[in-house]
C-alpha cells in the first residue's frame, strides 16, 4: 500500500496543475497515471489558451463570452472564478518557461478565436497543448513530485453510506501495468481525478485511444453523479481515417468547404449565409453531415476542405503543420488536392458533478479537467477555454485538497441539489446487469480508511482474476458496438428514435460485457486487460450521454434535437444529473446558477 496526503489520478494539464498546487501548499502529493505524463492528451491541443491579459480586455468580458457560449447553462460562480484566475494562471505558466509565441516587444501574443469579444487566445505556435503539458511536467520534475506512471487506476475506495453526500473517499486502487500488481493508494486528504475526456465512446474522435472516461465512470460508481453529459462538442474538420484534428485556422485563413458536386456548401444550401465556413463548430458540423446524408458527400462519408487557392507561400507560412497532418495521417498533399474532412467527437462538456473547487459530493473526492463538470462550459465550450480551465480548476482543487481553502462553495452538489425528477420511461434497462454486480457497494460496515481501501483492493483483485481466468468474448467487439451506435445515433443530429436505439444497443453491449474475458494470460504489460476494464467505463459514459440527450427535449448549444428546434429556457434551464444509485441509475435535474457576486447573467439569444 502506498500512502500520500493527496493522490492525483491522471497527469494531463489538469492533474499536473493540481499536483503542483497541492505540493506548494505543503501536501505530500503523488500523481498516479496510466500514461507517462507527457503522453497525456493535453499535448494534442493546438489552438491556444484564453485569458484576458490585454489592458483593453477584462475578465468580466471573458466571463460574459463564456456564459454566452455556454448557451446559459454555465454556473456563474465557476465562470467568474475561471475568467478571473485564468489571467494569473497563464502568466504563471509563462514564468514557468512556457514558450509562448511573442510580439516584437517580447510580450506574449494573443489571437482572436471564435465566440470571443477580444483577441485573448494566448498561444505557442499551433502546439499550445504540447508546450503547456511539457512545461508543467517540467515543474513537477523540478519539485520532485512523485509520479507513478503506467499505473492504471481502476476503482475508488469510498465508504458505502447510502447517501453519496455522506461518503468519504480514502484513496484508490491502481494496477501497475508493467508488472500486473494491484495496490491500494491511501490518500489522507483527498483523491483528485484528472483523467480527461471520453472520446472513445465514439468511433470517430479527435481524442486519444486512452480517453475512455475512466474518471467519470469511477466517480459515478462511487456515488458522484455525472452532469450535463449530453453536451458533446463535435469538431467539423477532422480527417476521416483517423479523426486527427484539422485546426479551425484553415477556415480562419480562408479555407473553403466543398461537397461532391464541388458546390460551396455553406452558402449553396444556406447553412450559414453570413459567416459561411466560419460559422460556429456545431453549425458547420451539422451542415457537413446534412450534405452527406442527402447524398452529396464524397464517398458518402466526408466533404472537402480546400485551401489550395491560398497559395503555397501563405499556406507554408501559416498552416505548415496542417500540410504535415494531412500528409502523415491521410496521405493527402494539401497543396495539391483538397483535404477530406468530416465531423468528429472533440470535447465533452459534461463530467463528474463538482463545485467550483472541483470537489464532488463525496468527501475527499475531486475532479478537474475535461472529466469534471463545474458547469463552466455549459452546453458548448468556446475554443481555447479548456486549457485555462485545466489550470484554474486544477489549482483550485489542489489547494482545496491540501486544506488551504476557507471559503464555502456556492455550487451545490449531490442529491441535495435535486430540483426536478425525470419522469419518463427509459427504452432500455439502465445500470447494473445483475444485483450481484461487484461494483455496487455491498453494505458491509467498514471501520478504518485502511480497511475501506483494502476491501476495494480485494474486490478489484477478484474482478481482475475473473476477467483473466474465465473464457469469453473479446472486449473490442463490445467497445466497437458502443462506438458504432453512439456515432450513428447520438451524433451531431439527435432524433428520439435513434437515441432510443442507442440506449438499447448500449444495454445489449452491457449484457455482452458480462461475458468478456482477457485472452492474454500474461501479467506483464497486459493491455488486453487494461482495455477490457476501460470498455466498461466507456459503456457507462455512453449510457449517460444517450440518456441525457433523450431527456433533454430542446436545442441548446451542441445538443440538437430534431423535434425541438429551440432553446426552451422555461423547461430546460437546468443541469442534467445522472447518478449510479447503487446500480439503479437515476436521472434528475438541478438549477443553473446565473447569478454571481459581481455579475448577473440574463439568458439571451446566442447568435454570432
Amino acid at each position: 500500500m502506498y500512502e500520500h496526503d493527496v493522490i492525483v489520478v491522471g497527469a494531463g494539464g489538469a492533474g499536473l496543475r493540481a499536483a503542483i498546487e497541492a505540493h506548494e501548499e505543503g501536501a505530500d502529493v503523488a500523481l498516479v497515471t496510466k500514461l507517462h505524463p507527457v503522453r497525456s492528451h493535453t499535448g494534442a491541443a493546438e489552438g491556444g489558451i484564453n485569458a484576458a491579459l490585454h489592458e483593453k480586455d477584462s475578465w468580466d468580458l471573458h466571463a460574459y463570452d463564456t456564459m454566452k457560449g455556454s448557451d446559459y447553462l454555465g454556473d456563474a460562480p465557476a465562470i467568474d472564478a475561471f475568467a478571473k484566475e485564468a489571467r494569473h494562471e497563464v502568466i504563471q505558466l509563462e514564468h514557468w518557461g512556457m514558450p509562448f509565441s511573442r510580439e516584437e516587444d517580447g510580450t506574449v501574443s494573443q489571437r482572436p478565436f471564435g465566440g470571443l469579444s477580444h483577441p485573448r487566445t494566448t498561444y505557442a505556435g499551433a502546439e499550445t497543448g504540447h508546450h503547456l503539458l511539457h512545461t508543467m511536467y517540467e515543474q513537477v520534475v523540478k519539485r520532485g513530485i512523485e509520479v507513478y506512471d503506467e499505473w492504471f487506476v481502476t476503482r475508488l475506495a469510498v465508504t458505502d453510506e447510502s447517501n453519496p453526500s455522506d461518503r468519504t473517499c480514502h484513496g484508490c486502487v491502481a494496477y501497475e501495468i508493467a508488472t500486473g500488481e494491484l495496490s491500494g493508494f491511501y490518500a489522507r486528504d483527498g483523491v483528485i481525478l484528472a483523467t480527461g475526456g471520453l472520446g472513445q465512446a465514439f468511433d470517430h474522435t479527435t481524442n486519444a485511444i486512452a480517453c475512455t472516461g475512466d474518471g467519470q465512470a469511477m466517480a459515478y460508481r462511487a456515488g458522484a453523479p455525472m452532469e450535463d453529459m449530453e453536451f458533446v462538442q463535435f469538431h467539423p474538420t477532422t480527417l476521416p481515417s483517423t479523426g486527427v484534428l484539422i485546426s479551425e485556422g484553415v477556415r480562419g485563413e480562408g479555407g473553403i468547404l466543398y461537397n461532391d458536386n464541388e458546390e460551396r456548401l455553406m452558402y449553396e444550401y444556406g447553412y450559414a449565409n453570413n459567416d459561411g465556413e466560419l460559422a460556429s463548430r456545431d453549425v458547420v458540423s451539422r451542415a457537413e453531415l446534412t450534405e452527406v446524408n442527402e447524398g452529396r458527400g464524397i464517398e458518402d462519408e466526408y466533404v472537402h476542405l480546400d485551401m489550395r487557392h491560398l497559395g503555397e507561400e501563405r499556406i507554408i507560412d501559416r498552416l505548415e503543420n496542417i500540410l504535415h497532418l494531412a500528409e502523415d495521417f491521410e496521405g493527402v498533399d494539401g497543396l495539391d488536392e483538397p483535404m477530406p474532412v468530416k465531423p468528429g467527437q472533440h470535447y465533452q462538456m459534461g463530467g463528474t458533478e463538482v463545485d467550483e473547487y472541483g470537489h464532488s459530493c463525496v468527501d475527499g473526492l475531486y475532479a478537474v479537467g475535461e472529466c469534471a463538470c463545474y458547469s463552466l462550459h455549459g452546453a458548448n465550450r468556446l475554443g481555447g477555454n479548456a486549457l485555462p480551465e485545466l489550470l484554474v480548476f486544477g489549482a483550485r482543487a489542489g489547494r482545496h485538497a491540501a486544506g488551504a481553502v476557507e471559503e464555502e462553495p456556492e455550487i451545490p452538489t449531490g442529491p441535495g441539489a435535486k430540483s426536478d425528477d425525470w419522469d419518463e420511461e427509459s427504452p432500455a434497462e439502465l445500470g447494473a446487469v445483475d444485483a450481484t454486480d461487484p461494483i455496487a457497494a455491498d453494505g458491509g460496515a467498514v471501520a478504518t480508511p485502511q480497511e475501506v481501501l483494502e476491501q476495494a483492493v480485494e474486490t478489484e483483485r477478484e474482478r481482475v482474476e475473473t476477467l483473466m481466468e474465465r473464457d469469453g468474448i473479446n472486449h473490442a467487439d463490445v467497445r466497437a458496438k458502443v462506438q458504432k451506435t453512439m456515432t450513428e445515433n447520438v451524433n451531431v443530429f439527435r432524433e428520439e428514435s435513434n437515441l432510443k436505439q442507442a440506449l438499447k444497443d448500449i444495454r445489449e453491449a452491457r449484457e455482452e460485457y458480462q461475458n468478456v474475458a482477457v485472452a492474454d494470460p500474461s501479467r506483464t504489460y497486459n493491455t488486453d486487460l487494461i482495455h477490457t476494464i476501460e470498455t466498461r467505463n466507456v459503456i457507462d459514459v455512453a449510457e449517460a450521454i444517450a440518456l441525457g440527450a433523450l431527456a433533454r427535449k430542446e436545442f441548446r448549444g451542441a445538443h440538437w434535437r430534431k423535434q425541438y428546434q429551440e432553446r426552451r429556457d422555461d423547461e430546460y434551464l437546468k443541469h442534467t444529473l445522472y447518478a449510479w444509485n447503487g446500480g439503479n441509475p437515476e436521472l434528475y435535474y438541478k438549477p443553473v446558477i446565473l447569478e454571481g457576486h459581481e455579475e448577473k447573467y440574463e439568458p439571451k439569444v446566442r447568435s454570432y
Partner: protein
C-alpha cells in the same frame, strides 16, 4: 519491472538495415583512424628496426636503412598497401574536414552530400596517384 529481454542478435542486425550516410561516415572514419594509428606505430617500428643497432645517436652510413626501405619498396604488395594507406589517409582527411565543418555548424543539412563528396574525392585522388605509387614495380 518484470524481466526484460535483451534482443542480442536481432538488435545488431536491425541496426544496419537502413542506410544512413552519417552513420557510415562515422564507421569509415573510425576504421580509417584506427588503421592510421596502427600504421603510425608500425611506421615508427619499421623506421627504427631499419636503423642499425647501436648506430642511434651516432648514425652510421645508413646502408641498412636504405636497403630495408628499398627492399620493402620493391615488393608489389607493399606498393598496393601504400595505395591503400593513401586511400585511408585521404578519406580520413576528407571526412575529417567534413567533420570539422560539422563541428563549426556549417553545412549540417547537407551532411550526407558532403559524405558522398569525401568518398568521391578519395576515390579520385587515390586513382590519380596509382601511377606514381606503382611506378617502378609494374
Amino acid at each position: 519491472m518484470s524481466q526484460s529481454y535483451d534482443r542480442g542478435i536481432v538488435e545488431s542486425f536491425g541496426r544496419w538495415r537502413e542506410f544512413s550516410a552519417g552513420m557510415w561516415a562515422w564507421i569509415f572514419h573510425k576504421l580509417t583512424g584506427w588503421i592510421l594509428v596502427g600504421y603510425l606505430f608500425t611506421h615508427i617500428a619499421v623506421l627504427s628496426t631499419a636503423i642499425e643497432p647501436g648506430t642511434i645517436a651516432a648514425a652510421g652510413d645508413g646502408e641498412f636503412y636504405t636497403s630495408t626501405l628499398q627492399g620493402l619498396e620493391e615488393l608489389l604488395i607493399v606498393r598496393f598497401l601504400e595505395v591503400g594507406l593513401l586511400a585511408v589517409a585521404v578519406f580520413h582527411i576528407m571526412n575529417g574536414i567534413r567533420l570539422l565543418f560539422v563541428d563549426l555548424g556549417i553545412g549540417l543539412t547537407s551532411q550526407d552530400k558532403s559524405f558522398y563528396a569525401s568518398l568521391v574525392l578519395t576515390g579520385a585522388i587515390t586513382v590519380a596517384s596509382i601511377p606514381t605509387f606503382l611506378a617502378g614495380v609494374l
